[in-house]
Symmetry: C2
Subunit: 460 residues, 2 copies
């Protein structure tokens, strides 16, 4: 071990005792997310329980120039938690306090390790919910750090629109509180939004103040199946262009449906391109929305709606949708997924997705498609053998083709997963050299010694 | 004139000819916004017509370290356009091209000098609108730069949520394109949101890509008057807490109503605390919303709704609301307004506003209150004699008291007007020294020579 690392470990042990661990299996668990990147172990894992501990650990790491990689639920798909330069994996998953819930103001303040499901469980009896839901059981800290979104974003926005403020520990250990409890503010630079999506490279988020919503009076979900992918995508486009405030509109292609039927026992559905809808509002409003959408779907060859109106049926449906990633991976035992995350203007979605479908066919890969189609965002899960470098290279080649098409359409390489390790070259292509240079300069201000999640977002 | 300024003027004249002016009356026009700050003239005014011209002018100013103050419609209430350190006032009001309107994707790209009304006029025949509407006939560039919002923000969000990307000229003349045409992105730091609200201190916005919305199937507006301010505020709070997706909910106290009745000839209304509502949706949805709100208002002593359903009636109502500032100033000929812009959590709005009302009574000032009450945001227009420094000091004292109360409630000193000159001390109190230091460090990255709107946001 290096001397600086020794000094940090000594300090951490004095601070948090056995919650600073160099145990090999714990380090292995913190060497990777759920992605296809080569795992890289941290030298130690620190389980922090308070902002003060995070602050003290960062101050130590800053002094000794030892890397720190924040870790939440470990569900990153882009290598965010991989300790490519060793150092400390700072695990915040034990910071699970729900610090405040203000029903009257529809806001809550939670620690970074609270998961979205734990938060919603806590809120349910009060008739409230937090809408941002990536498929994974991610932590709020991780979701803020990667600018997550998920199925409800089409109606409620991404986490960017739903964070009022953050508690952030800076590289040198100072603690910053950003934002206020007001719904809007024009007071100075938007530090909250600067940290949202910064992937642990500018500071470590230890708590967040979130917007909440009342559980709607009426909710209903419906499934609609299509003879071909084009019909399903065109339906999404027409619904979005019709101004209908649909709460969720999710697309699964026939490969993804096959995976979900097997994995989540979604009996009664065919292995066909499918849309999952959810409608929120008053009873009359929901009925009105659903009728309008069903008519549009019908005009593109969609089946009659299969309804899931009870809470149990809806829960089963969305559980299957949220498990889509695991269902996809299960199609090929032992595989890993190179997951695209392109997002394009809605008018280009059909062309983008059908193009991806052709690329997949030409490639020979099994690659289910699932997406938050209402946002113009979809994922292709390119299932590769993680032990076959040539196959990974071919998989990444397919990934590149799909991303290049999306960028040419004015889209983005990542709608919600973040850059991490896997999309650094795409960021440069998408944002351009000047923008990436500006980002680097901002990084240098907040992290002059380069200890915060080094190697992520930027190419070396 | 200083040598650096001479060099810049020579360069500007070579570049844009007579559109670089040192004419005294033009400089006077560019010495102030609509605020109470002491005017300060720029040394020259440059009327730019293209991003390339802005780029060339900034490169010149950067080389010679000459200040640049961006100027749009000149409607700032916080001294944003005052040339406190001289230099060039860079007027973008001639950059009025609407570059793209994509109906299928509900987005548009416009030059910075396009006003919100010009944009909406252009969009109307296509059945689209852009919702962000500060009262003033501001430019889109100025609205982005100050993180503006206005009456529709309660439903559609502020400009922060409605900008997809920006064209920004950096201090040294480089041109940055931020964002994409996709609805969401997790690709790197959110430079778009960093420039939104940066008040011309990080770069000069020359174009913006905006989100558009379909004009709703049904729109209706209603006016409801109350015996006391408490009833009006409590109605707003109850409506917001009831999850009703009201599009506009604006509060005017009896002083502001008196002003509007006189100035905008709002016949038929009493000089009483009043709410202006607007409902958007399907016909059934609008009726449902309005009924629910009318019931709530009634329970707090509100009158029966006076409806404005025709487009003309609605236009008259909102024109009066938008003219509230000019109506208020007209209450005291020759005065200027020190305008508060506090925004608090909705549950604290009654306490905050009634507290302000008491402070006003104790102060002896005429000070109408008007606000985007659904956001928890309201303005107190403290009408002062601009030639009486002692009165300005007393006015600012009242301002301070109102802001201090809002900050103590977890609110912000500025919901939508920005910091400019007038709220610099409040920013420090609200955000704290570490956050302001972080903002300063970011400023130094983007503007190492300190030429971009110097003196704004930060105390010297």
């Amino acid at each position: 071990m290096s001397r600086p690392l020794d000094a940090v470990l000594e300090g951490c042990r004095a601070l948090i005792g056995e919650r600073c661990s160099t145990n090999a299996s714990i380090r292995d668990q913190h060497a990777h997310g759920e992605d296809w990147q080569t795992p890289a172990r941290p030298d130690a894992v620190c389980f922090a329980q308070t902002t003060a501990e995070v602050s003290a650990i960062l101050a130590l790491c800053h002094r000794h120039a030892v890397p720190v990689v924040p870790f939440g639920a470990g569900t990153s798909l882009e290598g965010h938690v991989t300790a490519v330069r060793g150092g400390i994996s700072l695990d915040l998953s034990r910071m699970t306090a729900i610090l405040e819930v203000n029903e009257a103001d529809l806001d809550a303040r939670v620690e970074a390790g609270v998961t979205r499901q734990a938060l919603n469980q806590h809120l349910r009896d009060r008739g409230l919910f937090f809408p941002v839901d990536p498929g994974a059981e991610a932590t709020i800290g991780g979701m803020c750090a990667t600018r997550a979104s998920g199925t409800n974003a089409v109606r409620y926005g991404t986490i960017r629109e739903n964070v009022l403020g953050l508690t952030v520990v800076l590289a040198d250990g100072r603690v910053l509180e950003t934002g206020t409890r007001a719904r809007k503010s024009a007071a100075g630079y938007d530090l909250t939004r600067l940290f949202v999506g910064s992937e642990g490279t500018l500071g470590i988020i230890t708590a967040a103040r979130l917007r909440l919503y009342g559980i709607p009076e009426a909710i209903s979900a419906a499934v609609c199946q299509f003879p071909d992918l084009a019909g399903a995508v065109e339906t999404v486009i027409a619904v979005m262009q019709s101004n209908i405030p649909v709460a969720r509109i999710e697309l699964l292609d026939e490969v993804q449906m096959r995976a979900c039927i097997r994995y989540s026992k979604l009996d009664g559905y065919a292995e066909r391109p499918t849309l999952f809808f959810e409608f929120h509002g008053s009873k009359a409003g929901v009925a009105e929305q659903a009728q309008a959408v069903e008519e549009i779907a019908g005009s593109f060859g969609g089946s009659a709606f299969a309804w899931a109106t009870s809470e149990e049926e809806r829960a089963r449906l969305w559980k299957a949708r949220h498990a889509a990633y695991y269902a996809g991976v299960a199609l090929r035992p032992g595989c890993k997924s190179i997951t695209t995350d392109v997002c394009v203007p809605i008018s280009r979605l059909a062309e983008c997705m059908l193009g991806a479908k052709k690329d997949i066919a030409a490639s020979g890969f099994t690659a289910p498609i699932v997406g938050h189609a209402g946002d113009g965002n979809f994922h292709t899960m390119i299932l590769v053998d993680p032990n076959d470098p040539a196959e990974i290279a071919r998989g990444f080649e397919l990934d590149r083709r799909i991303v290049a098409r999306a960028l040419a359409m004015g889209g983005t390489c990542t709608g919600e997963h973040g850059v991490g390790l896997g999309k650094r070259e795409f960021l440069l292509r998408e944002a351009g050299a000047d923008a990436v240079e500006a980002m680097r300069a901002v990084k240098a201000v907040f992290d002059p010694r380069g200890i915060l999640n080094p190697g992520k977002i930027f190419m070396n």
